[in-house]
């Protein structure tokens, strides 16, 4: 029996067209635009100046607080300007622009390190380095990893869950990483188990990636306490709360964190970044990005330097096809539509999805026919039609009582609505107001 979460969920077409495409190393871009707010929390503070020369991996912006993260130079070169550039949020954000030094050999070295299994650092040093090396959650939420790992004394953690679900349609970055770096990921898991003194870890993988499941089952054969869980293909299986429920049958309490049920969840990409940071002294300056779309000439997976403009990636897969109407940073269910191809790749960019006319346009919103489909598919047990109604009418207190804040914004409701109602749009809007009201109360 495959493990899964009991309530809700949908089955959008998977469209994993790049799952057999190995991860290619992107040509080093001529210019990178590195935003200083690539993570959830306080933006980093710039510590370089115009015309400064920077080395690969040098800190160029320092963590601005506890929930923040350092940012490192992805390339060696010269800081040409500190500029405001539109990022994935759609707003202009502070960026450090670095012109790559074409003569600096470090830029063009093939950085493939040999597997290193021995863990030499002490737990404290490991946690410190994760914090210093700019590691954030690479599944898309970009929550600074050291915050997650900084467990309070009174909380007992007994299980580490590694999220290799990749339930978003189209995306294959995690899948490819698991296939190509399985041994390294296992070492990364052991590093975290050692640092947190946990003796159990479970790797959760959706059953549409049987090759990765088998590979990991094989690589953890001789490891103590590491298991692989094959999960039913159902969106949003990779949602943190759903994943904990699927694997351990533990339900994260309302408004709580996995920590409250003794679990820490990390994405496979994050685990690999931790491995590289600890074993090879490498800060987070690149990541795997799936560049995909039905009409692309040659969609594939790439190792991409943080700050690479998306147009470089598009050029690498054969350019934008005729009739492109939408560009998405991330997957089709939770990704953000982006304004133009100058937007840089950030730590949270798991994919770039190119959508054509026929898929891009939304159907005209019609009357709610009260079919209840949104209620059936909501994995959080909410009533999206009701939340939309309350948000639309400005009844925020009621919306709050109906648990609007527990919505994980997976988009299942909007996906299934036969009347094409913008359910999640209104719920997001309602959430933002409720949040404001709650903070002003306190």
């Amino acid at each position: 029996m495959l493990k899964t979460f009991p309530k809700g969920g949908i089955h959008p077409p998977e469209n994993k067209i790049t799952s057999s495409k190995g991860i290619k190393r992107m040509t080093v871009p001529k210019v990178v635009n590195v935003p200083i707010a690539q993570h959830i929390g306080i933006p980093a503070e710039i510590v370089v100046d115009k015309k400064d020369k920077v080395e690969i991996g040098q800190v160029i912006a320092k963590s601005g607080g506890f929930v923040s993260s350092n940012i490192h130079a992805p390339v060696a070169g010269v800081v040409t300007k500190l500029d405001m550039i539109i990022d994935t949020s759609g707003y202009k954000k502070q960026c450090i622009v670095i012109r790559t030094d074409a003569k600096d050999e470090a830029n063009f070295e093939e950085k493939e390190y040999p597997l290193k299994k021995n863990i030499e650092l002490e737990p404290k040093e490991i946690l410190k380095r994760i914090s210093e090396y700019g590691i954030v959650g690479l599944g898309g939420a970009t929550f600074p990893s050291h915050v997650k790992l900084n467990v309070r004394e009174d909380k007992k953690i007994d299980c580490l869950i590694i999220n290799g679900v990749e339930c978003e349609p189209y995306l294959t970055a995690d899948h490819r990483l698991m296939l190509e770096k399985a041994e390294e990921i296992v070492v990364g898991i052991k590093i975290l188990m050692f640092a947190l003194k946990i003796d159990k870890a479970v790797i959760g993988i959706e059953n549409n990636k049987k090759d990765a499941i088998n590979l990991f089952k094989n690589s953890v054969k001789n490891e103590v306490g590491i298991e692989v869980a094959a999960l039913k293909v159902k969106y949003p299986q990779g949602g943190e709360k759903q994943l904990v429920r699927s694997i351990l049958k533990r339900e994260v309490p309302k408004n709580g964190l996995p920590l409250d049920v003794g679990v820490i969840v990390h994405n496979v990409g994050t685990i690999f970044a931790i491995y590289e940071a600890i074993q090879h002294n490498k800060p987070l300056i690149e990541r795997v990005v799936t560049v995909t779309g039905k009409n692309l000439e040659n969609p594939s997976n790439f190792w991409v330097k943080i700050g690479t403009p998306i147009k470089d990636l598009i050029a690498e897969v054969g350019g934008l096809p005729e009739g492109t109407r939408k560009l998405v940073n991330g997957g089709p269910m939770m990704g953000k539509a982006i304004k133009n191809t100058d937007v840089p790749v950030t730590k949270g960019t798991s994919g770039i999805l190119v959508i054509s006319e026929d898929e891009a346009s939304r159907g005209e919103a019609k009357n709610c026919i009260r079919c209840g489909e949104c209620v059936f598919v909501c994995p959080m047990g909410l009533e999206p039609h009701l939340l939309m109604n309350l948000s639309e009418k400005g009844l925020y207190e009621k919306a709050s009582n109906e648990d609007i804040m527990t919505c994980i914004e997976c988009g299942s409701c909007s996906y299934v609505c036969p009347s094409h109602r913008p359910l999640l749009d209104y719920i997001r809007f309602g959430k933002s107001i409720v949040k404001k009201l709650e903070t002003s109360k306190n």
Partner: protein, 335 residues
């Protein structure tokens, strides 16, 4: 890029289900029952259905266009379904003007005066039917008898429905054994060789349509199965106590509007609850009221009343039977 780029919030993909497709699936599911009624009641069934459909569409068009001055939505399939379902709940010999009045009540009062598709509390077709039933009780209970391969155009012979026969017989102190001699066999009831409303006679055709709706995921099993099982259990208990005073559960399920109601009327998306728990309560309520009316009420049949009564409870059911919120009660223990 040749065209301006679209910026919108996620999700960026949508399933291919649309309200219109759901509506037309319901229409497809009603075809078997319609064919049986043509076979059994002949041209009369066609005329009633055609009049009901055309007048429902026409009234929706006229009211939206000239009275409400809103967007005309006759293409969405909902008025079409109301028309078919109204006709399916009428006897095949009903005067045409009555059908038109029924359509006006269904579309004008039950649907559009509440705000149109999605806002009506009561099933429009049933409101139309019940309005006609209480206004024209004589005409509404003149049931043409079933004739195999009916091709006659002239007025058919009329007779009572099986449930009518039972009610009348029991009221005059007859026993079920005697009444049964006049009833169609269970096989005839199953196939549809019996008197009754146009769309309710053939259990087989209705089951086919119902299964189609469940397979196509237009409806779920919750309402029809719960309603029919509850009806069978309740009538079964009475039948076991005194089989001479009460008809068997099989007769109750196969005759009258039980199957049409269970699969097509009670499951109306707009007027049924939106949670699985709520659907169970709703279906049990319909079954109980139906059985009480059939066994102890003045009318031989009670499905229409039962559904309308439970329709009124739907907002309450939606409020009190909510889905369980994720993480609201922690059952799992920490190992």
């Amino acid at each position: 890029m040749s065209q301006p780029i679209i910026i919108s919030a996620s999700p960026h993909v949508h399933s291919d289900r649309t309200s219109k497709k759901l509506m037309y699936d319901v229409v497809i599911a009603l075809i078997p029952a319609f064919l049986v009624s043509l076979y059994v009641f002949g041209i009369g069934a066609f005329i009633v259905t055609a009049v009901a459909v055309i007048s429902c569409l026409l009234f929706e068009y006229l009211i939206q266009k000239f009275l409400l001055k809103t967007e005309v939505t006759i293409g969405d399939g909902s008025a079409l379904i109301t028309g078919i379902l109204l006709a399916f709940n009428l006897p095949s010999g009903l005067p045409i003007w009555m059908i038109i009045v029924g359509s006006l009540v269904a579309i004008g009062i039950a649907k559009l005066s509440f705000g149109g598709l999605g806002f009506n509390i009561f099933n429009p077709a049933l409101v139309g039917r019940v309005f006609l039933l209480v206004s024209f009780p004589v005409q509404m209970t003149m049931w043409p008898t079933a004739v195999v391969n009916n091709t006659s155009i002239a007025d058919a012979v009329t007779g009572a429905t099986p449930l009518g026969l039972i009610k009348e017989g029991l009221m005059f102190g007859d026993t079920m054994t005697n009444i049964s001699a006049d009833l169609p066999s269970n096989i005839d009831l199953f196939i549809g060789l019996t008197g009754g409303s146009i769309g309710e006679i053939s259990a087989l055709a209705l089951l086919l349509g119902g299964i189609y709706l469940i397979v196509r995921k237009v409806i779920t099993w919750h309402i029809p199965v719960t309603m029919l099982v509850t009806m069978a259990v309740m009538t079964g208990i009475f039948w076991l106590i005194n089989p001479e005073q009460y008809a068997s559960p099989l007769i109750h399920i196969l005759s009258g509007g039980a199957l049409l109601g269970a699969f097509f009327m009670a499951t109306d998306l707009v007027t049924s609850p939106m949670t699985k728990k709520g659907m169970l309560i709703f279906a049990i309520g319909i079954a109980v009221i139906t059985v009480v009316i059939r066994l102890f009420g003045a009318y031989p049949e009670g499905v229409s009343f039962a559904i309308l009564i439970m329709n009124a409870f739907v907002p309450l059911i939606n409020t009190y039977f909510k889905p369980r919120r994720f993480g609201s009660k922690i059952k799992s223990k920490i190992v």
